[in-house]
């Protein structure tokens, strides 16, 4: 008989071996009583004889590596095993899914770690079975502790680092004083709540800090500078900026868009799949938390070079190839499974990202308009938790991501890594699409878990919740762990008690778990109970406004800005080297892993042209029955940031804007998002770089009339290696631009379209090679000028947009890494057509003409009959001669730059695709 109770159950293990890759098997371990017939039935579900073989309880061989998840790590496959068994009438009390690898030879632990396993989420053994994770769970609940803060400064500092609080002394003093005034000791849960809420990740302390210059003068905090630039631009399409979970814009009366881009750098460094996976899940929840339905994802990834050798890796750092594979798989897994197209993005490589890879995950959502505003939470509203169950995953993620990493980070931060469950989030998303009228306020559980979600919603109004009502994945969580857990796929909504029954019925229909944790009170006090006893009792004003403002010293950089040109004799060799450079060459191997077609709304894809292999600038999305849509563009260039962060910031804002304009986006209505990934802000030079980068952002935003609506910073991207060497990232600013496209059927792409068409360069070319890719490929070490802002660009883009709308332009491509030469080569590759260019029309110095990376430049393809009208339209509108005919689409399949450079399109294609001719 199939049904046994847990006390008489026993353990069975099915090994599934694919016919296709037999060296790597999947193991399914289950806890139940199982008859032979049950085994056959279960195997018939888990194993398809055409694809794989299955065997039960096979003894493990001496050269077999058995890998399982550590206790507490989410095991979604195991949950489905239990579900499948229950459909067959078999009661499985617990399950674990693992991997079994046949080794060629015995490996030591270091080799196993380097090739097969990740200690952050996995346990393993060779020649013996690892115990399934569920059998090793802690089931005893540790009680709430009181923490004595009556300590000297040294001891307070030690307390902060031992508990991973990431609080500085000034903050610890304020907390100590608060509790001593209240005449009691804080609980562990209160201390953790304050640490999460006041973390760099949640509170953006450095962006809110007073900026102190070496001469003693004080500048306005960075966040205030960004907000002020948005307020001054005063764009009519901005509905909400720097408020709540996402920026909200409205380009047309019928709908609003929510925009958000997040970083998930630290988690992706130690567990690339889970880190990137939950980065995507988290930013999608931000959009849900802004009461919009997600429609697309973006991703910008910065990795160490794929050819980094093991001996170049600092201790405790995963190899770039494993990070790349894990991150790409993690993004694909979440985006593909939840059913959102992953569209715009970039992939950058630099040795400085070896120990600090960066993962920027963005999401865009849509909501019909008008819709009543969310006015809650109101006193009396219920505190409702929707979605996944809570486990010991992702404890202290906000503080973890706010600290510098070192070789022990992977060992101690295991509990900081979450594993995503996109299916649960999809169900929550489906529910919220139907339930928008049933809540008065909404936010997601991100960093800090319930503590920040309920803490933020309760700001000003107060809340009283009972942790016993939080559904758990398994027993054994301490109260503070329930409160702090960053288990994924959870949303908190405020619900009028009269509407709760309707929401509960809807949640049941969609298969979403709903829990009523308590109420918003109106007394401005955050009270959290466990079995009725308060474990947190904090005034919300202290929680949200009690943090002392930081003062950070800033030393501003003094960049070299004189124009100069490096020596380059082999122009053809340089162009081929640029096209094959990892930062410029085809990203098809990554892009094709992401579903960019789901929802049927992708009009311009990340790969475009005659063979679908040319790089697009911006992407365009439009619902299949909508006439209009939006364009999305990305700007990023850390190499400019190394020597001139202010000009870098302008350049990447300009690049993001150019990308949407060349795709047909309207430059009169561009919304921007910023993401700063930076080093340690307490170092005055690092913070000084950040200060001038923000200045560059604000200046560019004003110049283009393009307001920032949302932003996110990730600081402390540094790694302290065991040898004491510090590895910091280059200043990395990602700008995302979004603009409306009035007629999605009349957009243009960069691929060359017709032989005989003219090629017109817009913008001014200067000798600007600071941080250029030419300098990289020829090994030029000189300090040179980073491309400077071009005052004429805003008027130029508006003129270009009118010409695109008027049908005067058949292709357009922005000039970025590698300058005009790479831009023209990419247009030729995408269109599989040649081009003939006269370099002297661009710049008197041929190296500058070909490879300078001056901002504000766009190559346009124009039919001969429209050239005069196009050139005049641009030059009149921009008030200078910014449009110059530089050549034409060639009749042969060659790309010529005068007589000095001549390559076949096939050579360019091979270099770009890194294939051999």
């Amino acid at each position: 008989m199939a049904h046994g109770d847990a006390s008489t159950s026993d353990r069975h293990r099915l090994t599934l071996r694919s016919h296709h890759s037999p060296a790597l098997a999947t193991t399914v371990t289950i806890e139940c009583t199982l008859s032979d017939l049950d085994r056959q039935r279960l195997q018939s579900v888990l194993c398809d004889p055409l694809l794989e073989s299955g065997s039960w309880d096979t003894p493990i061989g001496p050269l077999q590596l058995d890998i399982g998840l550590i206790p507490g790590v989410t095991d979604t496959a195991a949950e489905q095993v239990i579900h499948a068994a229950s459909l067959l009438g078999i009661h499985v009390s617990d399950a674990a899914v693992g991997r079994l690898i046949d080794l060629d030879r015995a490996l030591d632990d270091r080799e196993i770690r380097s090739h097969y396993t990740n200690a952050v989420i996995e346990r393993w053994a060779t020649g013996i079975n690892v115990e399934p994770g569920y059998a090793l769970r802690e089931t005893t609940v540790s009680p709430t502790e009181l923490v004595d803060l009556a300590l000297d400064d040294d001891a307070l500092g030690r307390l902060s680092s031992q508990r991973g609080l990431a609080l500085d002394l000034a903050e610890l003093h304020v907390i100590r004083d608060h509790f001593s005034a209240a005449n009691r000791l804080p609980t562990d849960a209160e201390l953790e709540t304050l640490a999460q809420t006041w973390s760099e990740h949640c509170a953006h302390k450095s962006f809110r800090a007073d900026i102190v210059l070496p001469n003693g003068s004080v500048l306005e905090p960075l966040l205030d500078q960004l907000r002020r630039s948005t307020n001054e631009i005063d764009a009519s399409f901005v509905v909400s900026a720097f408020d709540g979970n996402a920026g909200i814009v409205q380009f047309t009366p019928a709908r609003t868009y929510a925009l958000k881009c997040e970083t998930h750098n630290h988690p992706s460094a130690i567990e690339p799949f889970g880190g990137a996976n939950t980065g995507v899940g988290g930013v999608i929840r931000d959009i849900l938390g802004a009461a919009h339905q997600p429609i697309a994802c973006t991703d910008i990834l910065c990795f160490g070079p794929a050819d980094t050798t093991d001996d170049q890796l600092p201790d405790g750092v995963l190899s770039p190839t494993r990070i790349i594979e894990g991150v790409v798989a993690g993004i694909a897994d979440y985006g593909n499974k939840i059913g959102l197209p992953t569209v715009a993005g970039s992939v950058l490589f630099d040795p400085a990202y070896v120990s600090n890879p960066l993962v920027f995950a963005g999401c865009i959502g849509v909501a019909p308009s008008p819709r009543p505003a969310l006015t809650g939470p109101h006193p009396g509203d219920r505190v409702i938790l929707l979605g996944g169950r809570t486990g010991r995953d992702g404890i202290r993620g906000a503080t973890f991501s706010s600290m510098e990493m070192d070789a022990t980070t992977g060992d101690v931060a295991g509990a900081s890594v979450q594993i995503g469950d996109p299916i649960t989030e999809k169900l929550v998303s489906d529910l919220l699409a139907d339930a928008w009228h049933l809540y008065t306020a909404i936010t997601d559980c991100g960093a800090g878990g319930l503590s920040s979600a309920i803490g933020e919603l309760g700001d000003g109004v107060g809340a009283d919740v009972e942790l016993n009502l939080v559904p758990l994945k398994y027993a054994g969580l301490a109260p503070w762990e329930i409160w702090l857990s960053e288990a994924q796929e959870r949303m908190v909504v405020a619900v009028d008690p009269h509407q709760l029954a309707e929401l509960a019925a809807l949640a049941h229909r969609h298969g979403v778990e709903l829990s009523d944790l308590g109420s918003f009170t109106g007394d401005s006090q955050l009270v959290v109970r466990h079995n009725g006893t308060p474990i947190v009792d904090l005034p919300t004003t202290f929680l949200h406004k009690g943090r002392p403002r930081r003062r950070l010293q800033a030393t501003l950089p003094q960049p070299q800005r004189a124009e100069s040109v490096p020596q380059c004799d082999d122009l053809a060799g340089a162009l081929l080297a640029l096209l094959a450079h990892p930062n410029i060459s085809s990203k098809a191997a990554v892009i094709r892993r992401f579903d960019h077609e789901v929802l049927g709304s992708t009009v311009i894809r990340p790969l475009t042209g005659a063979c679908n292999d040319g790089p697009a600038d911006g992407v365009v999305l439009a619902g299949p029955s909508d006439p209009d849509g939006i364009a999305i563009g990305i700007g990023v260039n850390p190499w400019f940031g190394l020597s001139d962060p202010e000009h870098m910031a302008w350049a990447v804002v300009d690049e993001a804007i150019r990308n949407v304009v060349v795709a047909g986006g309207d430059p009169a209505a561009i919304a921007l998002m910023d993401n700063f990934s930076w080093g340690n802000p307490t170092r005055a030079t690092t913070f000084g770089d950040l200060v001038v980068a923000v200045r560059g952002c604000c200046d560019a935003a004003r110049a283009y009339g393009a307001p920032f609506v949302s932003g996110k910073d990730s600081l402390n991207n540094e790694y302290l290696a065991a040898d004491g060497k510090r590895h910091a990232i280059p200043p990395t600013l990602v700008i995302t631009a979004v603009a409306p496209v009035a007629d999605a059927g009349a957009v243009i792409t960069p691929d060359l379209k017709g032989v005989g068409n003219s090629l017109v360069l817009l913008g001014t070319t200067r000798s600007e090679f600071g941080g250029s890719h030419l300098s990289m490929v020829i090994g030029d070490q000189q300090s040179r000028a980073v491309p400077a802002p071009q005052a004429a660009s805003p008027a130029l883009y508006k003129a270009l947009h009118r010409c695109i709308v008027d049908g005067l332009v058949v292709s357009a491509h922005d000039c970025s890494e590698g300058g005009v030469a790479v831009a023209v080569a990419e247009m030729a590759i995408a269109g599989r057509l040649g081009a003939s260019i006269s370099p002297s029309t661009i710049h008197h110095d041929i190296v500058a003409a070909l490879f300078s990376e001056s901002t504000g430049r766009i190559v346009c393809e124009v039919e001969p009959r429209n050239v005069a009208q196009f050139v005049e339209a641009i030059n009149v509108a921009s008030d200078t001669n910014l449009a110059v005919v530089i050549g034409s689409v060639a009749t042969d399949h060659n790309v010529h730059f005068g007589s000095q450079l001549n390559l076949t399109v096939a050579q360019l294609v091979h270099a770009f695709n890194r294939t051999t001719a």
Partner: protein, 248 residues
Amino acid sequence: MTIAISRPRALVVRAPGTNRDSDAVFALEQAGADAHVVLLSEILETPSLLHNAQMLLLPGGFSFADALGAGRLFALELSTRLTAELAAFVAAGKPVIGICNGFQALIRTGLLPGPNLKAALGPNDHGRFTCEWVQLQPVSQRCIWTADLDADIHCPIAHGEGRFVCDDTTLASLRSNDQIALRYSSPNPNGSVADIAGICDTTGLVLGLMPHPEDHIVQRQHPQFIRGHRGGIGLGLFQAGVRHASQL
């Protein structure tokens, strides 16, 4: 008695993890159907929902996260509780289509390729999920969805487990019964046997295919639309199903 129905009612089943249901609804509506999303849990609770429908579509996605192999749990849910109703649906002459994850599920239920035949959809031969555009040649005259199609369909694939495999007996039988509905006429993207992209059952009513014709319904969705490409839309396939259903 046969009553002509102007807009046949089509049900699109959304399992947990299904994600191309709205794409499918758009395609069916454009083809003239009255399309509705029904949750898997609802149709399992109330199988009679099928009685009022003339068409059934199992859309793409990752039902139950495909955690135990693509479509396996979706299929198990259907065959545990809905086997008789699905058989009756087909016996009544009503068309059924499974796309991508829906195809994977139909294969696992045994509705495709049919009794005594053995086929599966395994991991792509290159081992990765891939999203790219392909070209499909309609082959089967038996299949009501493809018999009237006279031009290739251009549409995307987006799958990691789309490699069609079957034993020799099944392949011979698929060929002799005209059950190979669609073949890849562009390079085979996943290592499928005989370039098979879609198959039907012996009645010709049940079609399963890996690619997504529902994502090429309007011309603007084609990647080379900007270069002047026109044609190859997937609408005709859905219109064929709707035409058949409207004559029930």
